[in-house]
Symmetry: C2
Subunit: 159 residues, 2 copies
């Protein structure tokens, strides 16, 4: 698989392949799932491609599996955290290495009709807002544990 | 397939199934692709599920095909418009009927490192900004024509 030594997400994927890393949810064959920083959106996860690719079209025969891994992680999040809605986003504007953001949205979020990016933009310049958006009802370890239990029970593919 | 008479996107999908509708790109088996309003992001398309479902998990055996249709449309957009990056987003916070936003991002956009939603938020209250973001280098009919040519050539599945 292609790796780019200058890509920060290639480095993250390599680091997260160390079994002791705390916030790893699941080592899928094509991707690694890990708990993201913005736990105001309880259960928020990222799913990064193992292969360094900037668009889905570059994954060739692995594209379908990468998409299925995303959908399976999303289903686990839906089942474990019962959000009002999930937001599934693959952007890569800053770091163009394929990675999904899966944000659970909750009915008690007054900004639930908006994409999360308006709130996250405020966090760039407002330290209190940043802390608020990083703080979740469910500790990261518990997010991992619940998702791992669901994925194990549902025989999720594993590297 | 499930339809909800109260869902605005169920009505849109029904309307876009009329062959004469101008901004329809492609009638996929599981979804309909059409040109979106924000053509500052030249080639921007939406892809709405034919089935009324609010999360990918509800598509059952059709989930994989729905994801593949999205990836194929994205590949067509990449080939036809040569963007710097694509943004793939399935949100549904306002209208919770599965629909992808696929935004091509261009190197000459000073906000290319940001999600599009910050600019689109301004358009809600600033009519000039709205007009700017609705105006594209490529007319909608030409966007349709180019994508249709690519999808035909690549034997994209059709309803």
């Amino acid at each position: 698989m292609a790796h780019d030594p200058d890509c920060p997400l290639c480095r993250t994927v390599a680091e997260l392949s160390v079994p002791t890393t705390g916030n790893v949810v699941w080592q899928f064959p094509q991707s690694v799932a890990y708990v993201g920083p913005w736990q105001f959106y309880s259960g928020y996860c990222l799913l990064a491609s193992r292969q360094h690719a900037t668009e889905l079209s570059q994954l060739g025969p692995h594209r379908s599996a990468f998409l299925e891994e995303m959908a399976l992680l999303a289903e686990a999040m839906e089942s474990c955290f019962r959000p009002y809605k999930l937001n599934y986003e693959l952007l890569g504007n800053v770091v163009p290495h394929l990675h999904w953001h899966i944000f659970p949205r909750y009915a008690d979020d007054p900004e639930r009709l908006q994409p999360v990016w308006l709130a996250l933009e405020r966090a760039k310049t407002d330290a209190a807002e940043k802390r608020r958006l990083e703080s979740g009802r469910i500790p990261a370890e518990e997010v991992c544990r619940r998702l791992q239990t669901w994925l194990s029970t549902h025989n999720a593919p594993r590297l």
